[in-house]
Symmetry: C2
Subunit: 213 residues, 2 copies
DNA sequence: TGCACCGAACTGAAAATTCAGTCAAGCATT
DNA sequence: AATGCTTGACTGAATTTTCAGTTCGGTGCA
């Protein structure tokens, strides 16, 4: 909790959100954490190790982030719950922004560092899974694979909107509006015969499968 | 054309796609371009300047990428055109992958470097605009703002799916499937009674006000 | 006594950046 | 048509900067 070590990890997340993974200087991190440089090497093997732990930390935190201490929101209005959970990521508060930027950095970094991919894929998968469950509750008529696909789309969309937001291509408010619209498109869709609806998508399976190399 | 300078920019794009903006070493770039390190400083002020030019270059290239030499595909099947254009970005060929990764890096970098944002936003905007036009052709019944919103969603989704693909959370094939599904959801949506079609999503204010948050 | 920690000086290597100078093409002279 | 002058593209070899990582004497404290 008030562990010095995890305080460093927290500080690292903050620095990454401010400067990016590439921009993290262990000196600056030490200052941010209010700690000596040596302590960082005392607790972590080296910068790479620190980074790895930090990204794990971010990933872990993202897990408990949507889930929270309570198992699930589960009010009487499942659609509202769904919107709640997804829109959570598009809020202009320090905490959310910091978390969201750090998560984006994790993604971006993983493109060039295969070591990170496994954790990332796992966390992504549980997120998708959670959203799929909420979708199932909001749309009991649909099939499980259809929900899985929709969940993958919605979560990927959230990520896409987030980066646009943070890179200044899209105001948060507009992003939220768009996301609502997407939820609407997913839930209110009807499929004309012969088109690639949920059934067509189902063949791919539900997994956010781990990529091939 | 066979300008040495633009050859450096091309090489820089390749290196960025391989190592990331963060991982670009001007020495490695020089080797990749087959020139001396010094030439890079002859043509560009410094590493930052080089990066700036390169990212502009990537941005420019992305413009002409979807648009191509022809004004538009315009076959007799507008929906197929739309799918064509969007799925273009999710192909596992060297060129597309390189371009796509570089574009992702541009986005990710812009989060921490405000200088890049303007160009990025402009390019994004023209892309969205192009897609909106295709949507209008595929769905003549809808309103312009609705098409704009759908275009923003679809393009943001493409970006989201791309990073997942490149970061190993999602195989390309599955990404393509999901994207097709999203196009379906956007085009085949029907709105709850009392609402006036996709137009409801577009307006400012509460927009797609399904449910409250 | 041993653990967690400070802090500041220091090392080493990798990268960025500079610099003095070569090379070739043009171009005006005489 | 030989001469000298200029200029832009280019290089290789320094030089400088930037950091990660180390070391070590020292502090508080359980």
């Amino acid at each position: 909790m008030s562990d010095r070590r995890t305080e460093i990890l927290r500080a690292a997340t903050r620095v990454i959100a401010r400067r990016g993974v590439r921009g993290l200087r262990v000196g600056e991190l030490a200052a941010e954490a209010g700690v000596s440089t040596s302590l960082i090497y005392y607790h972590f093997s080296d910068r790479a190790g620190l980074l790895r732990r930090t990204l794990d930390f971010i990933s872990d935190r993202a897990d408990h982030y949507t889930a929270g201490p309570d198992p699930a929101p589960r009010t009487e209005d499942p659609r509202a719950d769904l919107e709640q959970v997804l829109l959570l990521e598009l809020q202009d508060t320090v905490d959310v922004r910091e978390n969201s930027i750090a998560w984006g950095e994790l993604r971006a970094t993983a493109v060039f560092e295969p070591d990170l991919r496994e954790d990332l894929a796992r966390t992504t998968h549980t997120w998708v899974h959670d959203v799929a469950e909420l979708l199932a509750r909001a749309d009991p008529g649909g099939t499980a694979p259809a929900h899985a696909a929709a969940a993958e789309r919605l979560t990927a969309l959230v990520e896409g909107l987030s980066v646009r937001w943070h890179s200044g291509s899209l105001p948060v408010g507009h992003a939220r509006l768009l996301l609502r619209g997407a939820i609407g498109a997913e839930l209110d869709r009807h499929d004309p015969p012969g088109r690639g609806g949920p059934a067509a998508v189902a063949g791919a399976g539900s997994g956010a499968g781990f990529g091939r190399s």
